[in-house]
């Protein structure tokens, strides 16, 4: 039950893109085509889950015992950047087809604030899933990461669909490109607000 709440909350109610504004750069960068959006969403899911797992372990088994929690930002970013490099190398070796699908998005992951953001959120923010407020434990953190990645994917793919339509319509000159995309994202975000209060 608790995990269902985590997923619904992250995908619909507190959507990482449309309500929390994390990962907005790839949101506009990789949303021209639905196909690209799906690739991006896949890469984010993969890296976000792995990154959250590793940074959670790093935080509770290295930073906390050594009392150097203030190294959190530096440590997380280094770990995530090296993780992305490793995933890229391993993927190239063991699954060239997956690499072709996700490869071009991987270098962008290291500075994707959605991934660093979720990694930092799970160790700093208290959530109230299933009763009392608490910091998330490992399984909950993983669920939170997967759920947020799903939320990212859902918003990205819907938005890419909208932008494909938008490309065919006659937009005033000053609005072409990013401005009209921003306004569209605003309307999409408005639609997602209908889910608030659901959990």
């Amino acid at each position: 039950m608790e995990y269902i709440i985590i997923i619904i909350s992250a995908v619909f109610v507190n959507n990482i893109l449309l309500a929390q504004f994390l990962g907005v750069c790839p949101f506009f960068g990789a949303s021209n085509k639905v196909e690209t959006a799906i690739g991006m969403a896949g890469a984010v899911t993969f890296v976000m889950t792995l990154a959250t797992l590793i940074t959670w372990l790093l935080f509770y088994y290295v930073l906390v015992p050594l009392q150097i929690e203030f190294m959190q930002t530096v440590g997380f970013i280094l770990i995530i950047a090296s993780l992305v490099q490793m995933v890229e190398i391993i993927l190239k070796k063991i699954s060239p087809s997956l690499y072709r699908a996700l490869g071009i998005f991987l270098p962008l992951m290291a500075t994707n604030c959605a991934i660093v953001g979720v990694a930092i959120l799970v160790v700093t923010k208290e959530f109230s899933f299933g009763g009392a407020a608490h910091l998330l434990n490992l399984p909950e953190s993983i669920a939170f990461a997967v759920a947020n990645a799903l939320g990212f994917g859902v918003a990205l793919v819907i938005f890419a669909g909208l932008r494909e339509q938008l490309a065919l319509s006659d937009v005033p000159k000053a609005f072409r490109g990013i401005p009209i995309a921003l306004v569209t994202a605003g309307i999409l975000s408005l639609a997602f607000m209908g889910f608030s209060g659901l959990v």
């Binding site: 504004f21 203030f70 500075t111 930092i120 306004v183 975000s189």
Partner: protein
């Protein structure tokens, strides 16, 4: 190019938000009021000036292949410095801006300036570049914050202009996207006419 030009180019011609469209997450996430936007802008500017200065000093000694990771470490380091400072001396603002303070470290504006400007220019010029881009970022954030606050709660910097609630949607998430979209259009119109 003199120092003043370095600064003004960051504010208008290469405005990181309105022209280069970089670092959108904090722009959207922390501009629900003018004061929040200003606080976030100044915090980012501090990190940018310090990281630009250090990158420009060490750039010559860093081998080409590891320069990006090295810059990221420098930027993340200064982000944490600013984070600790804010936690100590401006706890209220720190609590409001929340997750977006540590995320300054992954703001694309900072890495872009380190790579494209600071690593190729003198320390002094890099500091001025940081100041200019930082001011541009701060102005954009404050402007967006002021517009959202004005439309959403009929006040600017907490000063109330008219009674009533205003259009709530502008304080909420959708308003951030829509207001930024329109501001970019207006900025484009104004600067294109000038040019």
């Amino acid at each position: 190019m003199n120092k003043l030009q370095i600064i003004t180019k960051g504010i208008i011609k290469e405005n990181p938000v309105f022209v280069l469209l970089l670092g959108m997450c904090p722009v959207l996430g922390t501009s629900s009021s003018a004061i929040n936007g200003l606080g976030m802008g100044v915090a980012t500017m501090m990190v940018l000036i310090m990281s630009n200065a250090v990158v420009s000093i060490v750039a010559g000694a860093i081998p080409n292949q590891v320069r990006i990771p090295a810059y990221i470490v420098v930027i993340a380091g200064f982000t944490t410095v600013v984070q600790l400072m804010m936690q100590a001396y401006t706890p209220g603002l720190y609590a409001t801006l929340g997750i977006f303070i540590p995320l300054i470290a992954v703001n694309c504006v900072l890495l872009a300036r380190a790579e494209a400007y600071a690593s190729k220019n003198s320390v002094l010029n890099s500091v001025f570049d940081g100041l200019g881009i930082g001011l541009g970022f701060t102005l954009a954030l404050t402007a967006l914050g002021a517009v959202r606050e004005l439309l959403g709660s009929m006040s600017v910097f907490g000063y109330k202009f008219a009674s009533g609630d205003g259009m709530l949607v502008f304080i909420l998430a959708p308003g951030a996207f829509i207001a930024l979209g329109y501001l970019i259009v207006i900025f484009n119109k104004l600067t294109k006419i000038k040019a």
